[in-house]
């Protein structure tokens, strides 16, 4: 599974070139965040303050990794279910974030924001945390260390495997894929 190579920063040109159903390999710097971190990030935006990282043209990976064993960069790190980030994702997209990696369904509000601002939703393989960790070459906590596994991390990834589930036009593999195999 290789597919289209994506390198960060994830520009509008790259965003618009992707179509739902494509396999991709993501390389470069990405950021992690899940429920508790997103709440803080959006609270920060609400106060008009700067985020711990510049959100423009970034990809956010919804993940709470396991602790790293000695000698490892990170523990297993597969995607968490994305809908819990739906209340926050439109704000992050409006702030310039162009990619999200997670798994599972998204709300209409998220898809609307993706179409309006230009963003792509990727699914990584849920439950394949050991495999995904092999693509993570560096990891450091850059904010909210007190949240433990939920802290915001900056990851350097190489060929992180993912699938375009919802593209910037709103095409949705979860809908078309299911319809194609329904009996």
């Amino acid at each position: 599974m290789h597919g289209v190579q994506i390198t960060t920063p994830f520009t509008q040109e790259a965003v618009r070139s992707l179509k739902a159903g494509q396999m991709v390999s993501i390389s470069g710097v990405i950021y992690t965040g899940r429920d508790a971190a997103h709440k803080r990030l959006v609270d920060t935006l609400d106060r008009g303050e700067a985020l711990p990282f510049e959100p423009k043209e970034t990809i956010m990976y919804y993940v709470g990794p396991c602790p790293a064993k000695p000698g490892k960069v990170i523990g297993p790190a597969g995607p968490t279910t994305s809908y819990r980030m739906d209340p926050y994702a439109p704000r992050m997209i409006a702030a310039g974030q162009t990619g999200m990696i997670g798994k599972g369904l998204r709300s209409k509000e998220v898809v609307d924001a993706m179409k309006q601002y230009g963003a792509v939703y990727f699914a990584a393989i849920g439950g394949a945390g050991a495999l995904m960790a092999q693509s993570i070459k560096q990891a450091k906590v850059i904010a909210y260390d007190d949240l433990g596994t939920e802290a915001v991390r900056e990851l350097v990834v190489e060929n992180l495997p993912a699938i375009v589930v919802i593209d910037a036009e709103g095409n949705n593999l979860y809908e078309t894929g299911k319809a194609a195999y329904k009996r």
Binding site: C66, P76, Y83, G104, L105, L131, Y181
Partner: protein
């Protein structure tokens, strides 16, 4: 009378927490391999290859299969002729969880209170179900439960007149609504009968059954086969990308119930369906 100590229980639970989270069961792996052979979607075949590869990497490197190493659910069948020495059995189990999740580099995913939400930092407390049984043996099952799939579970209190059709409709509706969220291919546990909490317990217990093994009751075995086929006909497929294999198994457990009711619970498990057991 046999004696079992605090240390014996704690040490057994510690080992099982690590084993369950790093080594997938042979039955689940066989189910995934069968799904790989029958899957019609090329994308989903590639996904199933990756899932199987992931299970192998985890076992070889002794690292968790999935980063959500779950809330630890423990089933204890305690022989009535066994004396426990060293304090509280519950404390011994929680000590095992604490040690296992720390030494095994497992993720600590438990918060102290559902609303206050401060991480307990050692994955305790476990959810423990005790059952007193005849004899002088102790049987412990450790089943770490991830919440991507747990969140997709539900319970309904049907009328007796609703009958088996209501059960079928509920199971299918629950799987369809869950879609890609619980990391398909899933295992569907169905508990029917008893009281409200008994049905939920049965649904959880149904997830412990070996994949590929149907109910010993022929009526429920047929119902399981019918529901598995219908679930797979939904087309959700591995990871929800569209395909033939949405579930590896539908397991039903039942219990006598009241003349006025028919409780029914659906507990969904992801493809990282973890459980391991030991007899002391």
């Amino acid at each position: 009378m046999r004696t079992i100590t605090f240390e014996q229980v704690a040490s057994a639970v510690e080992g099982m927490c690590i084993k369950a989270n790093t080594k997938i069961g042979a039955d689940v792996l066989a189910g995934l391999q069968k799904a790989r052979e029958t899957e019609e979607s090329p994308l989903c075949r590639a996904i199933l290859d990756r899932i199987i590869e992931n299970d192998k990497i985890a076992a070889e490197e002794a690292i968790p299969i999935c980063q959500d190493t779950g809330m630890t659910v423990v089933f204890v069948d305690w022989g009535q002729e066994v004396y426990f020495e060293g304090g509280s059995i519950t404390d011994a189990i929680n000590e095992g969880v604490r040690q296992g999740y720390t030494k095994g580099y497992l993720r600590k995913s438990v918060v102290n209170d559902p609303l206050e939400r401060v991480n307990t930092k050692d994955n305790t407390p476990a959810v423990i179900h005790y059952n007193l049984v005849p004899g002088d043996k102790v049987h412990i099952t450790v089943a770490p439960k991830g919440f991507g799939s747990e969140n997709m579970s539900a319970l309904r209190m049907f009328k007796p007149a609703d009958g088996v059709e209501a059960v079928k409709e509920f199971v299918l509706q629950q799987v369809e609504t869950a879609g890609s969220n619980p990391c398909p291919p899933i295992i569907v546990g169905v508990g029917i009968g008893g009281t409200m909490e008994k049905a939920a317990f049965l649904a959880k217990k149904a997830l412990l059954r070996e994949v590929g093994k149907n109910s010993s009751n022929p009526y429920y075995a047929d119902l399981e086969k019918e529901l598995l086929e219908k679930v797979n006909n939904l087309g959700i497929g591995p990871q929800g990308f569209g395909g033939r294999n949405t579930a590896l198994a539908v397991n039903i457990e039942t219990y006598p119930t009241h003349i006025a009711g028919m409780p029914c619970a659906v507990n969904i498990n992801c493809h990282v369906a973890r459980h391991t057991e030991i007899e002391l």
